[in-house]
Structure formats: C-alpha cells, structure tokens
Symmetry: C2
C-alpha cells in the first residue's frame, strides 16, 4: 500500500494534531481533506466502537451554508424530500439530485433558522452546484463554506461522555435533532447523529480554534470510559447499511436505486430540479437497487467496483465489502438488477484476486 | 506517513495497473481519483524527468465536456479570458472564476469544435458549477464527464517517443495546439502540453479500454530512451512556477493575485460571471500576489500553509516548497503582500518544525 503525500491542497483539519498524536495509521481523502480510516486496526477499532466510545474527526463533512430570503426555496430545489415539515432544530437526511435525478450528494441538512441552513456534505463539491444554481436563477441567498468542522462522539458510551462535557441536557436530544451547546465560550450545534449504528452525537465545531480544546476535553473526560480516537469504521458501516456516496452510489444513480426512496416525496417536493425526471422513473420503479450481500472467501480490499455475475451475465456490482468478525463472513453492499435482487439469490463476484460466491442477504446486519 | 486506504470512491484509472507494476510509492487524491506522486524517489524522478522521458497517468485531469448551441456562450461565462480568438484545434489555459472573481479552477480548455469543448480540470468539481449555471440559465448545452483520461509524455525525449507511437506528424504540433491521432483503431486528441517545463504531450485517451495498450506501447517503444513511469514532480513544477490549484491559490484568490493576469482580458470577456467583480479589483490591482521564494534550511514537507512573517507581522504565506538539487536551496511558492513582495525582501517562514529565513526571489527557476 502506497503512502499518501502531504500537501496544502489535501487539507488538514482543526483536529489533525490530535489525530496524529493518537497514532492514525491510514487516511483517505474526502472533500479534499484528510479523513482517518484506521487507528489501532480496523478490527480493533470496530470492537472498541461497539463497546466503548470514540471521538471522530469528521471535519470532511464540510458545511455548505445557505442563507437569505430564498434559502428555503433553494433547499427544496436540491432534493426530492419534501422539506415543508422541517423546522429549525431539525436535521434531515436529504438525497440531492441533478435535473436527471442523478445523485449529487447525500448530506444531512441542518435547519438553523427559517432563512439559514447548513448542508453537511458527503464527498462532492456540492457548494459549486448550489452556487451555480443560485447564480443562474438570481436567487437572494449567500452560499459559502463556513469554518465549521464536525467532531463525532460515537459508541454506546457516547451519551455519558457528551453529558460530561456539554451537560445533562444533551441527553434530551432526540435522534436527528440538535441544540446549541456552549464550549470554550462559544455556542455550537450538537446533534444526535453520526455515521455509525452505535449512537452518539456530532458537534459542529464553530471555529477551528475550538477544535483541539474540545478534542482534549473529550479525551480527558472520557478516560475511565476508555475513550479513544476513532473514525467511520468500514465493517460497522457496512453491517449497518450506511451507504457511502462515491462508493455505493454516484451521479449515475437515482435515490430509488440507492434504496433511499423512503427519503423522497417527489410528488410533493415542488421545485426540486430533478422532480420531473424522478416522477418519470418512479412510475416504473428502479430496475436495479442497493442490496446487502454476503460473500464467502478470503477477499482482497474492495478498492474498485466488482462485477456481480449470474454465469456469464453481469447482473450488478459490489461497491463496499469487509469481513465481519461478529457475523463471521464478508458483509458487502452492491447494486443488483431486479431479476436477481431477491434474497437468497446465488451470484458470483469477480474481484482482482479471483471469483467468489455471493448471496443476496435479506437485510443489513442490524 | 500514513498509508492511503483503498475504496471505489477514490477512483482507480485506466492506467492504474501500469502505475502499480512500475512500483508507485506514493499517491495523492485529486478529483476523487488516484494520482501518483513518486516512483523511485522524488529526486530521482526529478533528475530523470529532466534528462529522459516519462509517461504520466494524469487521468485525474477529468474532462468537463460542454456541447451544444450554447457551448461557446457558457464557456465565456466561466472565464475572464477572452475566448473569441480561440479556434478548434487550440488549447487555452483559462482561469475560471465565480461571481466574486474567486478562482474555481485553472483548467486547460480544449476546443474540439465550435459547439464542443473539453475543460481539462484541476482539483475541484467544476462539473457541478457548470451544470448549475447551465440549468439555472436554461442554456442549450449538455454537460458531462466523458470516459477520457489524459496520459502525459514529458521530458526532453518526449517528442521522439511520441513520434514513434503516433508518427512524425506529432512533431508539427505547436505548443498548446492539438491534433487527432490514431491509436488502437480510435482517434485521440494529442496536444503539445503538460504540467512540466521539460516539454511534451498529453494524450486524451478516449475510452478506458485504450489505456493500458497505449501505456504498454509507449513503454515498449521508449525502452532505449530510458522511458519510465513518472508523475508531476513537486520540485520541477515549483522551479518552473507551475501553480497548483488548491495549494497555491484557492477560491479565496482572484486570478490577479495568482499572477495570472496575463490570461485575463476582463474588459473584453463579455459575459464572464466574475467580470464586474474583477473589473472592480483590477482597477486597484491586487494587494497580494504569488511570488517565487527561496528558503534556507532543512525544511519539513509543506503539508499546510506556512505563515510568512516580517517580525511579528504576517505578510503572506508559503503554499508549496521543495529542496531543489539543481539550485541547491529550497524553492517555494507563496502569496506575499504588496508591501513585501519586491525581490530581495527578507522574511521569515513559520513551519511545523520551526522558523526559517526566506527571501523573495526575482523569478521562478526557469
């Protein structure tokens, strides 16, 4: 495995000093910024995440701030999810699509006020799409990337740790709701959310200067909880069916193909730029869709799309895969054609190290 | 130095198999794709690039294809460079700006026909900006990323090698002009261009299936020329003053601050979305600008912005730096305030490993 070359372009984060001191062993680049992928080992990180509490540098979830009189109208243009019920204090998972219905991102939107949103993005420069639309349509909004860097607290002991630093009121937060909590003399958005199924919070650290002080405060306060630096864990997120934009779905896919139909209310999402396209395809339903897959064998890393075969015919692809210590087989995410997506369907997967048997699994491992 | 984690999201290229077989030792991620940074060593690669010929996988220069009746009008909206003189067969280096005059990318535009362009991008999802504008302004264009992956042939023996594979006619190409050349039964754009000062070509390989055959053909044909796999070389590109978007300039900078005023003809670039903003600032001229800098001492890697100081006052920053074996000192690129940008100005640079003396250099090292 080659090393990653340092440069200003691949941005460090407000927490990078802490991440390095904690002995980060692997990185990926996400939104042109460093994202840790492993500290002790992926398996050790996985076991620890499921039993203790971790602090994650997820600064790569950059914010697109949309502010001004047209903010609400612009937000609805971006997504087929009906946002009329979204109130300040709420977070919504919002598939975002272009005019063809292709996914441009799958961010979490944070409604700060009627005229002010943060869009906490997955790996694409959504800012440029939003800026382009806003300019072209002469909308009365400001669109920018603020100095806000999320820090996640994840794991079964996350609530205890968060309460020690932010006070017991943080325990009252419902899932995908946020409140304002003080740290370092500044008020920060703290939401009950995060890219794991172990529960926890994301702190939208407002101002890089608060990064390391908060990191250190959490490490200090959680010492007896066995707190450790962590990061989104490949195994745990596949088990939990948490999709990764750019891996499991791209601009080539609709939200329906990505299995995100439950987050779309295209009929009533008036104004969404992809509405016409999505209404057209949703009449028929998708002809391929995300599925959980179980794969047998000693697999290589899934660093490219793997073809899913029925004999000589390609019927889909695998886009994420890892060996699960808890379930004792490989857990995987793939896109499978409707003719072969029923649970129990036997398929073959072609990897860079040979062919392995795969089977469509009923659900993710949650 | 941590390793880079593999995933489909960080895309492999049509040449990745060749890159790996050639023993790539380091990568960066650029446009969500793997870009090699070192093969033998950065210094060995540098010396070889200046004396022989290298083949570079620069697939990361993704193309934004703009096609249709409004293609020319849309292109002019994107840049303050006057494109009226651009004819099919020409490549133009075009700073691209938003409505504030901030740089969004610094691509090479390739005019294939009056109604068809490729924009060969630096590291930002320019596609999304162009799509957003085109949608918002209801322009009659198609905007997409085609299956085109540039392969560069760079070095003093590049012409000889290119001629062996594409025929002697390739030698007639003038700088920043392209022609159509056949390989593998398909016609490809071959331009005299590339991200080095050693001369050479970029082949816009049209179709991933032609990638490895061309890679292998070049390696085979160049054996006696000491051809080797290479990549953009940090030392050589700093010596040559080749800027790197995301390192040396960002959305925070105008083209004038980036020293790219000679590529702007803002007065006559009617339609450019940043025209008003740039006309406003160009009246006064920039108050900070890119400069070549010479730095003394045993520097750490420039993996973050370094502050440039005059005593206690910050007067700029360094964004790229490397030790030059040929010039026997550190060569660097920075942005310096007008009060301190004259050649010979003595400054201090604050790195993660201490403070070092810097001096504003008259020119780049070419």
């Amino acid at each position: 495995m080659a090393t990653i070359a340092g440069s200003r372009r691949v941005r460090r984060t407000p927490f990078s000093d802490g991440v390095e001191a904690a002995g980060v062993k692997g990185y990926t680049v996400y939104n042109r910024m460093l994202l840790p992928t492993v500290f002790r080992s992926v398996v050790e990180d996985y076991k620890h995440l499921k039993t203790a509490v971790q602090v994650w540098d997820v600064s790569v979830e950059r914010q697109v701030e949309i502010r001004g009189p047209d903010a609400g109208r612009l937000m609805q243009m971006l997504t087929p999810r009906d946002l009329r019920g979204m109130l300040p204090g709420m977070c919504y998972y919002v598939p975002m699509v272009d005019e063809t219905g292709g996914m441009l991102n799958d961010p979490v939107a944070v409604k700060l006020a009627e005229d002010r949103y943060w869009v906490s993005i997955a790996d694409s420069d959504l800012l440029l799409w939003v800026k382009g639309l806003a300019y072209g349509l002469r909308m009365d909004v400001l669109v920018d990337e603020p100095d806000v860097s999320p820090l996640a607290i994840q794991g079964p002991k996350a609530e205890e740790l968060a309460a020690r630093v932010f006070g017991d009121k943080v325990k009252d937060l419902k899932f995908f709701r946020f409140g304002m909590f003080e740290f370092g003399g500044k008020s920060h958005v703290v939401a009950r959310s995060g890219y794991s199924k172990q529960g926890g919070f994301e702190v939208y650290v407002d101002g890089a200067e608060h990064g390391m002080p908060l990191w250190n405060a959490l490490m200090e306060a959680g010492r007896d909880l066995d707190v450790h630096a962590g990061c989104p864990n490949l195994i745990e997120r596949i088990e939990g069916g948490l999709l990764s934009y750019g891996n499991d779905m791209t601009r080539e896919n609709t939200p329906h193909e990505a299995g995100l139909g439950r987050f779309c209310s295209t009929q009533t999402a008036i104004g969404c730029v992809g509405r016409d396209a999505l209404l057209r395809v949703s009449k028929e339903g998708p002809v391929k869709q995300i599925r959980a897959l179980r794969i047998e064998g000693d697999l290589p890393p899934c660093d490219r799309e793997w073809a899913l075969m029925d004999g000589q015919r390609q019927v889909g692809s695998v886009t994420s895969s890892a060996f699960s210590p808890d379930f004792e087989h490989n857990v995987a995410i793939g896109m499978v054609r409707m003719t072969h997506w029923d649970q129990g369907t036997d398929l073959d997967v072609i990897t860079q190290s040979g062919v392995f048997p795969a089977i469509v699994h009923e659900t993710f491992w949650i």
